[in-house]
């Protein structure tokens, strides 16, 4: 069964890992063309999730997020690129990874 959701409803959502630990907020979705017999579709292949470390409480607004991203490692900002297969969107308002944070960090380092 298919259902529709808006991009704006996903952006900014807090993502948690399989153990319920916070990973960060969805900032970007990367889409690529998928070819079919009847044409082609853009499908989302990757979610970019940003974590603001200790600055998390201050990063509610878009301006604050951009500012913190610019300051990068100084404020503990990290961005994870998460493949679509790792993301569980059965409840789109509470996205969850089907892997742990440790597995995600291992993947990011490799």
């Amino acid at each position: 069964m298919s259902r529709e959701l808006l991009l704006s409803h996903l952006i900014g959502r807090q993502v948690r890992d399989a153990d319920g630990r916070k990973i960060g907020r969805i900032e970007e979705l990367l889409a690529r063309i998928e070819l079919h017999e009847h044409g082609n579709d853009y499908v989302v292949v990757e979610f970019h999730v940003g974590a603001y470390g200790l600055m998390e409480a201050l990063t509610g607004g878009v301006f604050a997020q951009k500012l913190v991203q610019r300051m990068g490692s100084v404020v503990g900002y990290r961005r994870f690129r998460i493949p679509w297969e790792w993301m569980d969107l059965s409840d789109p308002l509470h996205p969850r990874l089907n892997h742990t944070r440790v597995e995600l960090e291992t993947r990011a380092e490799s």
Partner: protein
């Protein structure tokens, strides 16, 4: 149609300017609908154009304000939201080109209404000579 490494939906598509097949500007990507199917990647399905969907992104107060203004103007509460399938996208660049006729879109009703009721009454708006 797009770069090989993909399209960033927030950076490249959301809020991008749109033009129709005649090169006429028809608004912006006010929202982007994705289709969620279990066991499959999210599919980018529809571009939504119209003040109502943009107001929803701002907040419920904007939805109410918009409805109140429309009521004051004695107009129906919605000037129309256009749903354009993403397959109609020809080019994603600085502007997104769509293979549609902008004049037929419901979201163009506001523009037409403004043209008929306000802009059209301004002297010189019809392009007549001085």
């Amino acid at each position: 149609m797009a770069a090989l490494d993909g399209v960033q939906l927030v950076h490249d598509v959301q809020d991008a300017c749109l033009c129709d097949r005649n090169g006429r500007r028809i608004g912006r990507v006010d929202a982007l609908a994705l289709t969620l199917t279990e066991g499959k990647p999210l599919r980018v399905s529809t571009i939504l154009i119209g003040g109502a969907v943009r107001a929803e992104r701002v907040g419920t107060w904007m939805v109410r304000l918009r409805g109140a203004i429309a009521a004051m103007l004695h107009h129906d509460r919605d000037f129309g939201v256009s749903r354009v399938p993403f397959s109609a996208v020809r080019v994603i660049g600085g502007t997104i080109e769509l293979d549609v006729d902008g004049a037929t879109l419901p979201s163009s009703r506001l523009e037409r209404w403004l043209g008929d009721h306000i802009i059209g009454h301004i002297p010189g708006s019809q392009g007549e000579n001085k």
